[in-house]
């Protein structure tokens, strides 16, 4: 059986990521993430080049540290310039290790040529790992209930 890789679980970038220009407010970013349910917001400069990123937890941490006054600040004051990523070829276990160690929910996936391909959610990795375990169990003679099948296919 071919083991699943992180690249197999990529979510659609158009639905999960939006962009905003430099100079946007943190409030604008918060709207994209919490109202429009985006996983991340990429910040672009005047030439449409990506300059940074804001994740859901970044807004939460900023509110905790600086209060709601952060909403009036420019996004450049709190955006990430560096991110931790995995490659599409990395295993599910490697993805889980990064997620657990650095307490993130959405893992960015970066190709070898520097293309940010998308994000993988921790739930998707866990579900894929469970599916692997179930297949191995079944192949070794274990029985799967209907409830387990339903949960894994959700």
């Amino acid at each position: 059986m071919v083991e699943a890789r992180l690249g197999d679980l990529l979510s659609d970038m158009d639905n999960s990521v939006s962009t905003l220009p430099q100079g946007s407010s943190v409030f604008d970013v918060a709207q994209e993430i919490f109202l429009h349910r985006k996983k991340a917001v990429i910040i672009l400069d005047g030439t449409k080049k990506a300059k940074g990123m804001v994740l859901e937890q970044d807004v939460a941490f900023a509110i905790n540290e600086m209060g709601i006054e952060i909403f009036e600040k420019r996004v450049e004051e709190m955006m990430r310039i560096d991110i931790l990523t995995c490659s599409p070829q990395d295993s599910l276990d490697e993805g889980l290790e990064v997620i657990a160690k650095h307490q993130i929910r959405h893992l960015p996936i970066l190709s070898s040529d520097g293309d940010l391909r998308g994000f993988v959610h921790v739930e998707d990795i866990v579900r894929a790992k469970l599916a692997q375990i179930v297949v191995k169990w079944r192949n070794s003679g274990g029985k799967i209930t209907n409830d387990m099948e339903t949960a894994l296919s959700a």
């Binding site: 970038m13 990506a50 300059k51 560096d82 990523t85 995995c86 490697e94 970066l110």
Partner: protein, 104 residues
Amino acid sequence: MIRASFSDHLKVRRCPQSGVDKILYDHDLRCELKVWLEETKENKLGWRVNIQGNDHVVGAMKKEILNHTVGYLKQRLRKDLSLITYSDIVMLSDSKLIRSVRKK
């Protein structure tokens, strides 16, 4: 795990004066000054900012360049200055550049 960055302004270079590998901060300030980040035992941080260029320009721009450099490092590392080590700076210079964001 890959550490990736939207910015690649830190490069390892051989300092022509000393022949030692240091980190060059390729700043975007409009001045002909080179900004080096180098290891040192002379302070508690273990590193320092060395600005090279015309003495008058260095004198005039020193404070702004220091603030700009430290601000850049703090934003990339998301750490207070007192917690930034030279190893952190070397790690930043080794980050993979994010060249594009895949969207339709």
